[in-house]
Amino acid sequence: MTPESILEHAPKVLTQAQREAYFRDGYVSLDGFVSKEWLDRLWAVTEEFVEESRSLSKSDDKFDLEPDHTADNPRLRRLTWPVAHHQTYWEFASRGPIADVAEDLLGPDLVFHHSKLNFKWSGGGEEVKWHQDFPFYPHSNASVLAIGLYMADVDDEMGPLGAIPGSHKGPIYDHFNDKDEWAGALCNADEAKLPLETAGYMAGKAGTITVHHVRTVHGSMPNNSPRMRPLLINAYASADAYSLTPYPGIACPQNEMVVRGKRARWAQFDQEACRMPPDWSGGYSSIFALQQAEDDSLRAAE
Protein backbone atom coordinates (compact mmCIF):
# COMPACT_ATOMS: atom_id res chain seq x y z
CA MET A 1 0.00 0.00 0.00
CA THR A 2 1.12 3.56 -0.56
CA PRO A 3 1.60 5.90 2.41
CA GLU A 4 -1.35 7.97 1.18
CA SER A 5 -3.74 5.02 1.20
CA ILE A 6 -2.47 3.84 4.58
CA LEU A 7 -2.93 7.29 6.10
CA GLU A 8 -6.56 7.29 4.98
CA HIS A 9 -7.27 4.59 7.57
CA ALA A 10 -7.79 5.82 11.10
CA PRO A 11 -4.84 4.80 13.29
CA LYS A 12 -5.29 2.43 16.21
CA VAL A 13 -2.39 3.38 18.46
CA LEU A 14 -0.16 5.89 16.68
CA THR A 15 -0.75 9.58 16.31
CA GLN A 16 -0.95 11.05 12.86
CA ALA A 17 2.34 12.85 13.57
CA GLN A 18 4.06 9.55 14.40
CA ARG A 19 2.78 7.97 11.20
CA GLU A 20 3.91 10.93 9.15
CA ALA A 21 7.32 10.84 10.82
CA TYR A 22 7.68 7.18 9.87
CA PHE A 23 6.82 7.82 6.24
CA ARG A 24 9.09 10.87 6.12
CA ASP A 25 12.13 9.48 7.97
CA GLY A 26 11.73 5.75 7.41
CA TYR A 27 11.78 5.01 11.11
CA VAL A 28 10.16 5.97 14.37
CA SER A 29 10.64 4.96 17.98
CA LEU A 30 8.05 4.92 20.75
CA ASP A 31 9.47 5.29 24.21
CA GLY A 32 8.18 2.80 26.78
CA PHE A 33 5.40 1.69 24.46
CA VAL A 34 5.09 -1.89 25.68
CA SER A 35 3.70 -2.52 29.16
CA LYS A 36 5.62 -4.02 32.06
CA GLU A 37 3.20 -6.92 32.06
CA TRP A 38 4.17 -7.86 28.52
CA LEU A 39 7.86 -7.38 29.30
CA ASP A 40 7.61 -9.68 32.31
CA ARG A 41 5.96 -12.39 30.25
CA LEU A 42 8.55 -12.10 27.49
CA TRP A 43 11.42 -12.12 29.97
CA ALA A 44 10.10 -15.24 31.64
CA VAL A 45 10.26 -17.24 28.42
CA THR A 46 13.47 -15.62 27.26
CA GLU A 47 15.26 -16.67 30.44
CA GLU A 48 14.19 -20.24 29.76
CA PHE A 49 15.88 -20.10 26.37
CA VAL A 50 19.06 -18.59 27.77
CA GLU A 51 19.13 -21.49 30.23
CA GLU A 52 18.58 -23.97 27.43
CA SER A 53 21.48 -22.49 25.47
CA ARG A 54 23.96 -23.28 28.25
CA SER A 55 24.09 -26.91 27.16
CA LEU A 56 25.09 -26.00 23.62
CA SER A 57 28.61 -25.65 22.31
CA LYS A 58 27.84 -24.49 18.80
CA SER A 59 25.13 -22.61 16.88
CA ASP A 60 22.17 -24.51 15.47
CA ASP A 61 18.85 -23.70 13.78
CA LYS A 62 17.51 -22.20 16.98
CA PHE A 63 20.47 -20.57 18.73
CA ASP A 64 23.18 -18.44 17.16
CA LEU A 65 26.07 -18.32 19.65
CA GLU A 66 29.05 -16.02 19.96
CA PRO A 67 32.38 -17.83 19.58
CA ASP A 68 33.13 -17.54 23.31
CA HIS A 69 29.79 -18.92 24.52
CA THR A 70 30.07 -21.37 27.42
CA ALA A 71 27.70 -23.04 29.86
CA ASP A 72 28.88 -20.81 32.68
CA ASN A 73 28.91 -17.65 30.63
CA PRO A 74 26.24 -17.92 27.95
CA ARG A 75 26.76 -15.51 25.05
CA LEU A 76 23.76 -15.80 22.81
CA ARG A 77 23.77 -13.69 19.70
CA ARG A 78 20.34 -14.64 18.54
CA LEU A 79 17.33 -16.79 19.18
CA THR A 80 16.16 -17.56 15.67
CA TRP A 81 12.45 -17.43 14.94
CA PRO A 82 11.23 -17.11 18.55
CA VAL A 83 7.55 -17.13 17.51
CA ALA A 84 7.91 -20.79 16.59
CA HIS A 85 9.56 -21.71 19.86
CA HIS A 86 7.09 -20.25 22.31
CA GLN A 87 3.45 -19.23 22.12
CA THR A 88 4.12 -16.09 24.16
CA TYR A 89 6.34 -14.66 21.44
CA TRP A 90 3.70 -15.40 18.81
CA GLU A 91 0.92 -13.93 20.91
CA PHE A 92 2.99 -10.77 21.30
CA ALA A 93 3.77 -10.59 17.57
CA SER A 94 0.29 -11.38 16.29
CA ARG A 95 -2.04 -9.91 18.90
CA GLY A 96 0.11 -7.66 21.03
CA PRO A 97 0.30 -3.86 20.82
CA ILE A 98 2.96 -4.00 18.10
CA ALA A 99 0.51 -5.64 15.69
CA ASP A 100 -1.53 -2.42 15.98
CA VAL A 101 1.58 -0.39 15.18
CA ALA A 102 2.16 -2.56 12.12
CA GLU A 103 -1.43 -2.02 11.06
CA ASP A 104 -1.14 1.75 11.46
CA LEU A 105 1.89 1.77 9.16
CA LEU A 106 1.06 -1.01 6.67
CA GLY A 107 -2.70 -0.71 6.35
CA PRO A 108 -5.53 -2.94 7.55
CA ASP A 109 -4.35 -6.08 5.76
CA LEU A 110 -0.98 -7.43 6.76
CA VAL A 111 1.03 -10.61 6.93
CA PHE A 112 3.81 -11.76 9.20
CA HIS A 113 7.28 -12.09 7.76
CA HIS A 114 9.73 -13.21 10.41
CA SER A 115 10.95 -12.90 13.95
CA LYS A 116 14.27 -12.94 15.77
CA LEU A 117 15.64 -12.03 19.17
CA ASN A 118 19.07 -10.38 19.10
CA PHE A 119 20.77 -10.36 22.49
CA LYS A 120 23.73 -8.09 21.85
CA TRP A 121 25.45 -9.35 24.92
CA SER A 122 27.35 -7.09 27.29
CA GLY A 123 31.01 -6.18 26.96
CA GLY A 124 31.41 -5.80 23.21
CA GLY A 125 28.44 -7.74 21.87
CA GLU A 126 28.12 -7.58 18.14
CA GLU A 127 28.14 -4.65 15.82
CA VAL A 128 25.64 -4.74 12.99
CA LYS A 129 26.93 -2.95 9.89
CA TRP A 130 24.88 -0.52 7.84
CA HIS A 131 22.38 -2.41 5.71
CA GLN A 132 18.86 -2.43 4.34
CA ASP A 133 16.51 -5.32 5.00
CA PHE A 134 14.94 -5.42 1.53
CA PRO A 135 17.88 -7.13 -0.22
CA PHE A 136 17.66 -9.90 2.40
CA TYR A 137 14.03 -10.54 1.60
CA PRO A 138 12.78 -8.85 -1.57
CA HIS A 139 9.04 -8.41 -1.85
CA SER A 140 6.85 -7.31 -4.73
CA ASN A 141 6.82 -3.88 -3.10
CA ALA A 142 8.49 -2.21 -0.15
CA SER A 143 5.51 -1.82 2.19
CA VAL A 144 7.38 -3.98 4.68
CA LEU A 145 8.80 -3.06 8.08
CA ALA A 146 10.42 -4.41 11.21
CA ILE A 147 9.45 -3.59 14.78
CA GLY A 148 12.04 -4.01 17.50
CA LEU A 149 11.30 -4.16 21.21
CA TYR A 150 14.02 -3.27 23.70
CA MET A 151 13.54 -5.77 26.50
CA ALA A 152 15.96 -3.81 28.72
CA ASP A 153 16.83 -0.14 29.15
CA VAL A 154 19.11 0.88 26.30
CA ASP A 155 21.41 3.88 26.51
CA ASP A 156 23.87 5.23 23.98
CA GLU A 157 26.68 3.03 25.26
CA MET A 158 24.71 -0.13 24.56
CA GLY A 159 24.63 0.00 20.79
CA PRO A 160 21.10 1.25 20.14
CA LEU A 161 19.65 0.87 16.67
CA GLY A 162 20.68 3.71 14.36
CA ALA A 163 18.88 4.69 11.16
CA ILE A 164 19.62 7.19 8.39
CA PRO A 165 16.59 9.46 8.02
CA GLY A 166 15.08 9.48 4.53
CA SER A 167 17.30 6.65 3.30
CA HIS A 168 14.20 4.54 2.59
CA LYS A 169 13.51 6.95 -0.28
CA GLY A 170 17.00 6.53 -1.69
CA PRO A 171 18.49 3.69 -3.71
CA ILE A 172 18.30 0.02 -2.90
CA TYR A 173 21.99 -0.72 -2.41
CA ASP A 174 23.94 -3.69 -3.63
CA HIS A 175 24.74 -5.84 -0.61
CA PHE A 176 27.37 -7.87 -2.47
CA ASN A 177 31.04 -6.92 -2.27
CA ASP A 178 33.31 -6.12 -5.21
CA LYS A 179 34.15 -9.82 -5.57
CA ASP A 180 30.44 -10.41 -6.09
CA GLU A 181 30.13 -12.20 -2.77
CA TRP A 182 27.15 -11.60 -0.52
CA ALA A 183 28.26 -9.20 2.21
CA GLY A 184 24.91 -8.47 3.87
CA ALA A 185 25.94 -4.85 4.27
CA LEU A 186 26.62 -1.76 2.19
CA CYS A 187 30.05 -1.56 0.62
CA ASN A 188 32.43 1.14 1.89
CA ALA A 189 32.00 3.27 -1.22
CA ASP A 190 28.22 3.43 -0.80
CA GLU A 191 28.53 3.95 2.93
CA ALA A 192 30.84 6.91 2.32
CA LYS A 193 28.12 8.62 0.30
CA LEU A 194 25.58 8.40 3.12
CA PRO A 195 25.02 11.24 5.59
CA LEU A 196 25.96 9.06 8.56
CA GLU A 197 26.19 12.13 10.76
CA THR A 198 22.42 12.49 10.47
CA ALA A 199 21.79 8.99 11.86
CA GLY A 200 19.15 8.79 14.54
CA TYR A 201 20.07 6.47 17.40
CA MET A 202 17.03 5.09 19.14
CA ALA A 203 17.95 4.68 22.78
CA GLY A 204 15.13 4.19 25.24
CA LYS A 205 13.99 2.42 28.35
CA ALA A 206 12.73 -1.15 28.46
CA GLY A 207 9.50 -1.42 26.51
CA THR A 208 10.59 1.07 23.87
CA ILE A 209 9.91 -0.03 20.31
CA THR A 210 11.77 0.90 17.16
CA VAL A 211 10.13 0.70 13.78
CA HIS A 212 12.11 0.81 10.55
CA HIS A 213 11.09 0.64 6.93
CA VAL A 214 12.50 -2.24 4.89
CA ARG A 215 14.57 0.16 2.76
CA THR A 216 15.90 2.29 5.61
CA VAL A 217 19.67 2.03 6.02
CA HIS A 218 20.30 0.99 9.61
CA GLY A 219 22.84 -0.65 11.86
CA SER A 220 24.16 -0.62 15.39
CA MET A 221 27.44 -0.29 17.24
CA PRO A 222 28.87 -2.91 19.58
CA ASN A 223 27.50 -2.95 23.09
CA ASN A 224 30.27 -1.42 25.22
CA SER A 225 28.34 -1.55 28.44
CA PRO A 226 28.38 -4.36 30.99
CA ARG A 227 24.66 -4.87 30.35
CA MET A 228 23.08 -6.90 27.54
CA ARG A 229 20.72 -5.35 25.03
CA PRO A 230 18.07 -7.84 23.98
CA LEU A 231 16.04 -6.64 21.01
CA LEU A 232 13.03 -8.68 19.91
CA ILE A 233 12.34 -8.04 16.24
CA ASN A 234 9.18 -8.89 14.34
CA ALA A 235 8.78 -8.05 10.66
CA TYR A 236 5.53 -7.56 8.79
CA ALA A 237 4.39 -6.80 5.23
CA SER A 238 1.28 -5.27 3.70
CA ALA A 239 -0.88 -8.04 2.30
CA ASP A 240 -0.27 -6.78 -1.24
CA ALA A 241 3.51 -7.17 -0.84
CA TYR A 242 4.39 -10.70 -1.83
CA SER A 243 7.62 -12.26 -0.70
CA LEU A 244 9.73 -13.33 -3.69
CA THR A 245 12.18 -15.65 -2.01
CA PRO A 246 11.53 -18.46 0.46
CA TYR A 247 12.36 -17.65 4.05
CA PRO A 248 15.85 -19.06 4.58
CA GLY A 249 16.68 -22.01 6.72
CA ILE A 250 14.15 -23.61 9.00
CA ALA A 251 10.52 -24.19 8.15
CA CYS A 252 8.55 -21.43 9.80
CA PRO A 253 4.81 -21.86 10.04
CA GLN A 254 4.07 -18.20 10.75
CA ASN A 255 5.90 -16.90 7.67
CA GLU A 256 3.33 -15.24 5.36
CA MET A 257 0.56 -15.82 7.89
CA VAL A 258 -2.19 -13.19 7.79
CA VAL A 259 -2.05 -11.16 11.02
CA ARG A 260 -4.73 -8.59 10.19
CA GLY A 261 -7.42 -8.45 7.50
CA LYS A 262 -6.94 -10.66 4.49
CA ARG A 263 -4.45 -11.45 1.75
CA ALA A 264 -4.65 -9.05 -1.19
CA ARG A 265 -6.33 -9.95 -4.46
CA TRP A 266 -3.92 -7.79 -6.48
CA ALA A 267 -0.17 -7.83 -6.02
CA GLN A 268 1.31 -4.32 -6.06
CA PHE A 269 4.75 -3.75 -7.52
CA ASP A 270 7.39 -1.14 -6.99
CA GLN A 271 9.38 0.01 -9.95
CA GLU A 272 12.86 -0.07 -8.62
CA ALA A 273 14.91 -3.20 -9.20
CA CYS A 274 16.23 -5.11 -6.22
CA ARG A 275 19.22 -7.40 -6.23
CA MET A 276 18.43 -11.03 -5.40
CA PRO A 277 19.95 -12.46 -2.25
CA PRO A 278 21.95 -15.68 -2.50
CA ASP A 279 20.00 -18.93 -2.67
CA TRP A 280 19.58 -19.77 1.01
CA SER A 281 17.46 -22.84 0.48
CA GLY A 282 20.43 -24.92 1.61
CA GLY A 283 20.75 -23.06 4.91
CA TYR A 284 21.26 -19.61 6.33
CA SER A 285 23.80 -18.40 8.79
CA SER A 286 23.08 -15.15 10.57
CA ILE A 287 24.00 -11.62 9.60
CA PHE A 288 26.51 -11.57 12.46
CA ALA A 289 28.47 -14.56 11.27
CA LEU A 290 28.36 -13.19 7.78
CA GLN A 291 29.34 -9.62 8.43
CA GLN A 292 32.19 -10.83 10.58
CA ALA A 293 33.22 -13.35 7.95
CA GLU A 294 33.04 -16.32 10.28
CA ASP A 295 31.51 -18.37 7.57
CA ASP A 296 33.37 -18.21 4.30
CA SER A 297 31.20 -20.77 2.61
CA LEU A 298 28.24 -18.48 3.03
CA ARG A 299 30.02 -15.44 1.69
CA ALA A 300 30.70 -17.33 -1.47
CA ALA A 301 27.14 -18.61 -1.74
CA GLU A 302 25.34 -17.60 -4.91
Binding site: P138, S140, N141, D240, Y242, L244, T245, R263, A264, R265, W266, A267, Q268, F269, D270, Q271, E272, A273, C274, R275, M276
Partner: protein
Protein backbone atom coordinates in the same frame (compact mmCIF):
# COMPACT_ATOMS: atom_id res chain seq x y z
CA UNK B 1 13.93 -6.91 -19.57
CA UNK B 2 12.45 -3.99 -21.39
CA UNK B 3 11.32 -4.51 -24.98
CA UNK B 4 14.10 -2.24 -26.23
CA UNK B 5 16.72 -4.33 -24.43
CA UNK B 6 15.31 -7.55 -25.85
CA UNK B 7 15.26 -6.14 -29.36
CA UNK B 8 18.85 -4.99 -29.02
CA UNK B 9 19.97 -8.63 -28.69
CA UNK B 10 20.69 -10.47 -31.93
CA UNK B 11 17.83 -12.92 -32.55
CA UNK B 12 18.51 -16.63 -32.97
CA UNK B 13 15.53 -17.77 -35.05
CA UNK B 14 13.07 -14.91 -35.44
CA UNK B 15 13.35 -11.97 -37.76
CA UNK B 16 13.33 -8.47 -36.33
CA UNK B 17 9.92 -8.00 -38.00
CA UNK B 18 8.54 -11.03 -36.19
CA UNK B 19 9.83 -9.73 -32.88
CA UNK B 20 8.38 -6.29 -33.48
CA UNK B 21 5.05 -7.93 -34.45
CA UNK B 22 4.99 -9.88 -31.19
CA UNK B 23 5.61 -6.80 -29.08
CA UNK B 24 3.00 -4.83 -31.00
CA UNK B 25 0.28 -7.50 -31.17
CA UNK B 26 0.97 -9.79 -28.23
CA UNK B 27 1.13 -12.98 -30.29
CA UNK B 28 2.94 -14.72 -33.14
CA UNK B 29 2.13 -17.61 -35.46
CA UNK B 30 5.06 -19.50 -36.97
CA UNK B 31 3.78 -21.73 -39.73
CA UNK B 32 5.27 -25.27 -39.80
CA UNK B 33 8.08 -24.09 -37.55
CA UNK B 34 8.89 -27.57 -36.23
CA UNK B 35 9.09 -30.38 -38.76
CA UNK B 36 10.66 -33.69 -39.71
CA UNK B 37 12.16 -35.97 -37.08
CA UNK B 38 11.64 -33.56 -34.19
CA UNK B 39 7.92 -33.27 -34.89
CA UNK B 40 7.52 -37.01 -35.47
CA UNK B 41 9.26 -37.78 -32.16
CA UNK B 42 6.86 -35.50 -30.25
CA UNK B 43 3.83 -37.01 -31.98
CA UNK B 44 4.99 -40.58 -31.21
CA UNK B 45 5.81 -39.73 -27.62
CA UNK B 46 2.39 -38.17 -27.19
CA UNK B 47 0.66 -41.26 -28.61
CA UNK B 48 2.51 -43.38 -26.06
CA UNK B 49 1.12 -41.22 -23.24
CA UNK B 50 -2.42 -41.53 -24.58
CA UNK B 51 -1.92 -45.31 -24.48
CA UNK B 52 -0.68 -45.02 -20.93
CA UNK B 53 -3.84 -43.13 -19.98
CA UNK B 54 -6.00 -46.13 -20.91
CA UNK B 55 -5.15 -47.76 -17.61
CA UNK B 56 -6.15 -44.68 -15.63
CA UNK B 57 -9.77 -44.14 -14.62
CA UNK B 58 -9.58 -40.85 -12.70
CA UNK B 59 -7.53 -37.68 -13.10
CA UNK B 60 -4.23 -37.73 -11.28
CA UNK B 61 -0.98 -35.76 -11.14
CA UNK B 62 -0.09 -36.84 -14.67
CA UNK B 63 -3.42 -36.88 -16.50
CA UNK B 64 -6.47 -34.67 -16.45
CA UNK B 65 -9.27 -36.80 -17.94
CA UNK B 66 -12.62 -35.89 -19.49
CA UNK B 67 -15.56 -37.37 -17.54
CA UNK B 68 -16.27 -39.94 -20.29
CA UNK B 69 -12.69 -41.22 -20.60
CA UNK B 70 -12.44 -45.02 -20.91
CA UNK B 71 -9.69 -47.52 -21.70
CA UNK B 72 -11.21 -48.17 -25.12
CA UNK B 73 -11.89 -44.55 -25.98
CA UNK B 74 -9.31 -42.47 -24.10
CA UNK B 75 -10.26 -38.82 -23.67
CA UNK B 76 -7.34 -37.14 -22.00
CA UNK B 77 -7.81 -33.44 -21.57
CA UNK B 78 -4.35 -32.70 -20.45
CA UNK B 79 -0.99 -34.26 -19.78
CA UNK B 80 0.43 -32.21 -16.90
CA UNK B 81 4.02 -31.01 -16.97
CA UNK B 82 5.06 -33.24 -19.89
CA UNK B 83 8.69 -32.24 -19.51
CA UNK B 84 8.65 -33.86 -16.08
CA UNK B 85 7.17 -37.06 -17.51
CA UNK B 86 9.68 -37.80 -20.27
CA UNK B 87 13.16 -36.58 -21.28
CA UNK B 88 11.93 -36.18 -24.87
CA UNK B 89 9.59 -33.40 -23.79
CA UNK B 90 12.28 -31.83 -21.60
CA UNK B 91 14.67 -31.73 -24.51
CA UNK B 92 12.05 -29.92 -26.58
CA UNK B 93 11.31 -27.45 -23.77
CA UNK B 94 14.85 -26.72 -22.76
CA UNK B 95 16.92 -27.05 -25.90
CA UNK B 96 15.06 -26.69 -29.16
CA UNK B 97 14.03 -24.01 -31.65
CA UNK B 98 11.15 -23.01 -29.35
CA UNK B 99 13.67 -22.29 -26.60
CA UNK B 100 15.31 -20.01 -29.16
CA UNK B 101 11.96 -18.31 -29.76
CA UNK B 102 11.60 -17.72 -26.02
CA UNK B 103 15.08 -16.24 -25.91
CA UNK B 104 14.40 -13.98 -28.88
CA UNK B 105 11.33 -12.55 -27.15
CA UNK B 106 12.40 -12.52 -23.48
CA UNK B 107 16.11 -11.80 -23.66
CA UNK B 108 19.20 -13.93 -23.05
CA UNK B 109 18.24 -15.19 -19.58
CA UNK B 110 15.17 -17.40 -19.62
CA UNK B 111 13.39 -19.66 -17.13
CA UNK B 112 10.76 -22.24 -17.95
CA UNK B 113 7.69 -21.82 -15.79
CA UNK B 114 5.59 -24.86 -16.68
CA UNK B 115 4.38 -27.06 -19.49
CA UNK B 116 1.17 -28.83 -20.42
CA UNK B 117 -0.23 -30.79 -23.32
CA UNK B 118 -3.87 -30.05 -24.11
CA UNK B 119 -5.53 -32.75 -26.19
CA UNK B 120 -8.79 -31.09 -27.22
CA UNK B 121 -10.27 -34.35 -28.26
CA UNK B 122 -12.44 -34.84 -31.34
CA UNK B 123 -16.20 -34.21 -31.41
CA UNK B 124 -16.72 -31.58 -28.79
CA UNK B 125 -13.41 -31.56 -26.95
CA UNK B 126 -13.14 -28.75 -24.47
CA UNK B 127 -13.70 -25.11 -25.01
CA UNK B 128 -11.23 -22.82 -23.28
CA UNK B 129 -12.91 -19.58 -22.29
CA UNK B 130 -11.36 -16.18 -22.85
CA UNK B 131 -8.65 -15.53 -20.31
CA UNK B 132 -5.20 -14.08 -19.69
CA UNK B 133 -2.42 -16.25 -18.35
CA UNK B 134 -0.77 -13.88 -15.90
CA UNK B 135 -3.49 -14.01 -13.22
CA UNK B 136 -2.79 -17.76 -13.05
CA UNK B 137 0.87 -17.13 -12.30
CA UNK B 138 1.72 -13.53 -11.43
CA UNK B 139 5.33 -12.46 -11.83
CA UNK B 140 7.12 -9.26 -10.82
CA UNK B 141 7.01 -8.11 -14.43
CA UNK B 142 5.31 -9.10 -17.64
CA UNK B 143 8.25 -10.72 -19.42
CA UNK B 144 6.31 -13.98 -19.50
CA UNK B 145 4.90 -15.87 -22.49
CA UNK B 146 3.60 -19.24 -23.64
CA UNK B 147 4.66 -21.12 -26.75
CA UNK B 148 2.33 -23.73 -28.22
CA UNK B 149 3.03 -26.28 -30.89
CA UNK B 150 0.21 -27.98 -32.77
CA UNK B 151 1.01 -31.67 -33.04
CA UNK B 152 -1.72 -32.09 -35.68
CA UNK B 153 -2.94 -30.06 -38.63
CA UNK B 154 -5.40 -27.55 -37.22
CA UNK B 155 -8.20 -26.01 -39.24
CA UNK B 156 -11.07 -23.78 -38.29
CA UNK B 157 -13.36 -26.60 -37.20
CA UNK B 158 -10.86 -27.93 -34.70
CA UNK B 159 -10.96 -25.14 -32.21
CA UNK B 160 -7.73 -23.32 -32.95
CA UNK B 161 -6.46 -20.83 -30.41
CA UNK B 162 -7.90 -17.36 -30.81
CA UNK B 163 -6.10 -14.24 -29.67
CA UNK B 164 -7.14 -10.61 -29.35
CA UNK B 165 -4.37 -8.54 -30.97
CA UNK B 166 -3.02 -5.78 -28.78
CA UNK B 167 -4.91 -6.94 -25.69
CA UNK B 168 -1.60 -7.47 -23.87
CA UNK B 169 -1.30 -3.69 -23.70
CA UNK B 170 -4.70 -3.32 -22.08
CA UNK B 171 -6.01 -4.05 -18.65
CA UNK B 172 -5.62 -7.19 -16.59
CA UNK B 173 -9.18 -8.44 -16.28
CA UNK B 174 -10.82 -9.86 -13.21
CA UNK B 175 -10.84 -13.67 -13.36
CA UNK B 176 -13.17 -13.99 -10.39
CA UNK B 177 -16.96 -13.79 -10.63
CA UNK B 178 -19.34 -11.52 -8.72
CA UNK B 179 -19.32 -13.94 -5.81
CA UNK B 180 -15.55 -13.60 -5.65
CA UNK B 181 -15.05 -17.17 -6.82
CA UNK B 182 -12.14 -17.95 -9.12
CA UNK B 183 -13.48 -18.73 -12.59
CA UNK B 184 -10.18 -18.73 -14.47
CA UNK B 185 -11.74 -16.71 -17.27
CA UNK B 186 -13.02 -13.23 -18.07
CA UNK B 187 -16.44 -12.44 -16.70
CA UNK B 188 -18.95 -11.86 -19.50
CA UNK B 189 -19.84 -8.49 -18.05
CA UNK B 190 -16.36 -7.31 -19.07
CA UNK B 191 -16.69 -8.53 -22.67
CA UNK B 192 -17.70 -5.06 -23.84
CA UNK B 193 -14.16 -3.89 -23.20
CA UNK B 194 -12.59 -6.61 -25.38
CA UNK B 195 -12.20 -6.11 -29.12
CA UNK B 196 -13.60 -9.48 -30.14
CA UNK B 197 -14.11 -8.21 -33.71
CA UNK B 198 -10.34 -8.32 -34.12
CA UNK B 199 -9.90 -11.92 -32.99
CA UNK B 200 -7.30 -13.90 -34.93
CA UNK B 201 -7.58 -17.66 -35.04
CA UNK B 202 -4.17 -19.30 -35.14
CA UNK B 203 -4.39 -22.23 -37.53
CA UNK B 204 -1.75 -24.18 -39.37
CA UNK B 205 -0.28 -27.51 -40.29
CA UNK B 206 1.21 -29.82 -37.67
CA UNK B 207 4.40 -28.28 -36.32
CA UNK B 208 3.05 -24.74 -36.41
CA UNK B 209 3.96 -22.70 -33.35
CA UNK B 210 1.90 -20.09 -31.51
CA UNK B 211 3.33 -17.58 -29.09
CA UNK B 212 1.22 -15.45 -26.82
CA UNK B 213 2.12 -12.82 -24.26
CA UNK B 214 0.99 -13.50 -20.68
CA UNK B 215 -1.47 -10.60 -20.82
CA UNK B 216 -2.95 -11.42 -24.23
CA UNK B 217 -6.64 -12.34 -24.03
CA UNK B 218 -7.03 -15.73 -25.68
CA UNK B 219 -9.25 -18.79 -25.77
CA UNK B 220 -10.55 -21.49 -28.05
CA UNK B 221 -13.88 -22.98 -29.08
CA UNK B 222 -14.68 -26.71 -28.81
CA UNK B 223 -13.27 -29.05 -31.40
CA UNK B 224 -16.23 -29.97 -33.57
CA UNK B 225 -14.21 -32.06 -36.01
CA UNK B 226 -13.69 -35.82 -35.81
CA UNK B 227 -9.94 -35.22 -35.38
CA UNK B 228 -8.07 -34.44 -32.18
CA UNK B 229 -6.11 -31.23 -31.73
CA UNK B 230 -3.08 -31.75 -29.56
CA UNK B 231 -1.35 -28.59 -28.44
CA UNK B 232 1.86 -28.78 -26.43
CA UNK B 233 2.40 -25.58 -24.45
CA UNK B 234 5.55 -24.38 -22.69
CA UNK B 235 5.52 -21.19 -20.66
CA UNK B 236 8.68 -19.19 -20.10
CA UNK B 237 9.66 -16.09 -18.15
CA UNK B 238 12.57 -13.71 -18.28
CA UNK B 239 14.94 -14.60 -15.46
CA UNK B 240 14.37 -11.20 -13.84
CA UNK B 241 10.61 -11.87 -13.51
CA UNK B 242 10.06 -13.64 -10.19
CA UNK B 243 6.96 -15.60 -9.38
CA UNK B 244 4.73 -14.04 -6.77
CA UNK B 245 2.44 -16.96 -5.94
CA UNK B 246 2.73 -20.69 -5.32
CA UNK B 247 3.53 -22.75 -8.43
CA UNK B 248 0.49 -24.71 -9.62
CA UNK B 249 2.65 -27.78 -10.24
CA UNK B 250 5.35 -27.69 -7.56
CA UNK B 251 8.23 -30.07 -8.06
CA UNK B 252 11.40 -30.44 -10.09
CA UNK B 253 12.20 -28.10 -12.95
CA UNK B 254 9.94 -25.26 -11.95
CA UNK B 255 11.54 -21.92 -12.76
CA UNK B 256 14.51 -23.79 -14.17
CA UNK B 257 16.97 -21.65 -16.13
CA UNK B 258 16.98 -22.84 -19.75
CA UNK B 259 19.02 -20.01 -21.25
CA UNK B 260 21.63 -17.74 -19.73
CA UNK B 261 21.79 -17.36 -15.98
CA UNK B 262 19.65 -16.46 -12.99
CA UNK B 263 18.92 -12.78 -12.49
CA UNK B 264 20.93 -10.77 -10.02
CA UNK B 265 18.32 -8.04 -9.84
CA UNK B 266 14.57 -8.50 -9.67
CA UNK B 267 12.79 -6.26 -12.16
CA UNK B 268 9.39 -4.84 -11.33
CA UNK B 269 6.56 -3.59 -13.48
CA UNK B 270 4.42 -1.00 -11.75
CA UNK B 271 1.17 -2.45 -13.14
CA UNK B 272 -0.51 -4.44 -10.34
CA UNK B 273 -1.40 -8.05 -11.05
CA UNK B 274 -4.42 -10.10 -10.04
CA UNK B 275 -3.61 -13.13 -7.91
CA UNK B 276 -5.07 -16.60 -8.27
CA UNK B 277 -6.41 -18.64 -5.36
CA UNK B 278 -3.75 -20.33 -3.24
CA UNK B 279 -2.75 -23.28 -5.38
CA UNK B 280 -0.21 -24.55 -2.87
CA UNK B 281 -2.62 -27.25 -1.71
CA UNK B 282 -3.06 -28.54 -5.26
CA UNK B 283 -4.14 -27.28 -8.64
CA UNK B 284 -6.99 -28.61 -10.66
CA UNK B 285 -6.96 -27.58 -14.28
CA UNK B 286 -8.42 -24.56 -16.01
CA UNK B 287 -10.99 -26.85 -17.59
CA UNK B 288 -12.33 -27.99 -14.27
CA UNK B 289 -12.41 -24.43 -12.92
CA UNK B 290 -14.05 -22.97 -16.01
CA UNK B 291 -16.62 -25.76 -16.15
CA UNK B 292 -17.18 -25.72 -12.42
CA UNK B 293 -16.46 -29.40 -12.00
CA UNK B 294 -14.60 -28.62 -8.90
CA UNK B 295 -16.60 -26.47 -6.57
CA UNK B 296 -13.88 -26.37 -3.98
CA UNK B 297 -11.49 -24.88 -6.47
CA UNK B 298 -13.98 -22.39 -7.82
CA UNK B 299 -14.55 -21.12 -4.30
CA UNK B 300 -11.55 -19.31 -3.02
Amino acid sequence: MKMEQVLAETPKVLSQEQRAFYFENGYLLLDSFISGERLKALQDLTKSFVDKSRSVSASNDMFDLEPDHTADAPRVRRLNMPYRQDPGYWDFTSNSPITDVAQDLLGPNVKVHHSKLNFKWSDGGEEVKWHQDIPFYPHTNYGVLAIGIYLDDVDEEMGPMGVIPGSHKGEIYNHYNDKDQWIGALDEKDFGRVNFDDVVWLKGPAGSVTVHHCRTVHGSVPNSSPRSRNLLINAYAAADALTVSAHPYPGPKTNHIVRGKPARWVEYDSEPCLLPPDFSEGYSSIFAAQQEEDETLATV
